[in-house]
């Protein structure tokens, strides 16, 4: 990792942490969803830095183009944009903060003590062709299972919403 990549990493990390913080603490749901999209974009940038180009594209098309727009629809269908987020009681907020901080500290401690075997050399080139070959040869069963899961989810979602309309 050269200096330029390190600079890009830290810029992406800073923007990512900031936007995640806005998503978690922000009061306006509409802005939260937009910052959630920004957060996903920085994750896609990190994927590119890790030379996972196919995953970065899936992140942008599938996640930002699909899921964020879906959540945006749900936000606009269910509440008025002017509605303020319900306030969190102070005691609960502090307790949650302490729990999250404890978790952060303990996991950090655990993996600081762990020795990971570092890779000898980093492979070059694009990952899309290799992933496509693996998806249709050695990993064809999970691939099909995910397809069925998605189909069932779509049918289930339609069934849940439709039942409500009929009444």
């Amino acid at each position: 990792m050269g200096t330029a990549e390190l600079v890009v990493f830290f810029i992406l990390a800073t923007v990512g942490i900031f936007s995640a913080l806005v998503v978690v603490t922000g009061k306006n749901m509409f802005h939260n969803v937009l910052f959630f999209g920004l957060f996903l974009l920085t994750i896609a940038g990190q994927f590119l830095l890790l030379s996972a180009d196919f995953l970065a594209m899936v992140q942008i098309f599938g996640y930002i183009g699909g899921i964020v727009v879906l959540i945006l629809f749900a936000v606009m269908l269910t509440r008025k944009i002017t509605d303020a987020e319900v306030e969190v009681s102070a005691g609960k907020g502090i307790l949650s903060f302490v729990i999250a901080l404890l978790l952060l500290g303990s996991i950090f401690y655990v993996y600081k003590r762990t020795l990971f075997p570092a890779a000898a050399e980093l492979p070059k080139g694009f990952s899309t062709a290799a992933i496509g070959k693996m998806l249709l040869s050695s990993h064809v069963l999970p691939f099909e299972v995910v397809a069925i899961v998605l189909l069932v989810a779509v049918v289930g979602a339609l069934a849940i919403v439709r039942e409500e309309i009929k009444e």
Binding site: M1, G2, L6, F9, G16, A20, V23, V24, T25, M29, V33, F36, F39, I43, F47, L50, S51, F54, L55, V58, G62, G66, I67, L70, I71, A74, T78, E85, V86, V88, K92, G93, S96, I99, A100, L101, L103, I107, F108, Y111, K112, F116, P117, A118, A119, L122, S127, A130, I131, M134, H139, V146, V149, L150, V154, A157, I160, V161, E163, E164
Partner: protein, 104 residues
């Protein structure tokens, strides 16, 4: 910069994202906000998977797994949003403290 240091950077970033998600799940009172916090945690896990697949065992298994995670997350989000819309129609609120249909 060695691979191990690089891996530590990515693990720390993923850990920060994960704990932010945990904090959001515990403090948010809006169902959609909780859903987004959970998705932040999913993305932290994905980031770790890809960092491991690149920096520890250099094959594409980790990327493939992250791809399946994204697929399952998409399914989960679709069902969750359908449930949210159905609940909003019957209760007219998204505050988790007010949605106590299944509370005895």
């Amino acid at each position: 910069m060695t691979g191990a240091m690089q891996l530590n950077l990515y693990l720390t970033l993923g850990l920060i994202f994960f704990c932010l998600g945990i904090y959001g799940v515990m403090t948010k009172r809006n169902v959609i906000g909780i859903l987004m916090s959970i998705e932040i945690m999913f993305n932290a896990a994905n980031l770790n998977l890809i960092a491991f697949s690149r920096l520890v065992k250099t094959n594409f298994g980790g990327q493939l797994f992250a791809l399946f995670v994204i697929g399952v997350v998409a399914a989960e989000t679709v069902v969750a949003l359908a449930i949210i819309l159905a609940v909003y129609k019957s209760k007219n609120t998204l505050n988790v403290d007010k949605i106590n249909l299944m509370k005895w």
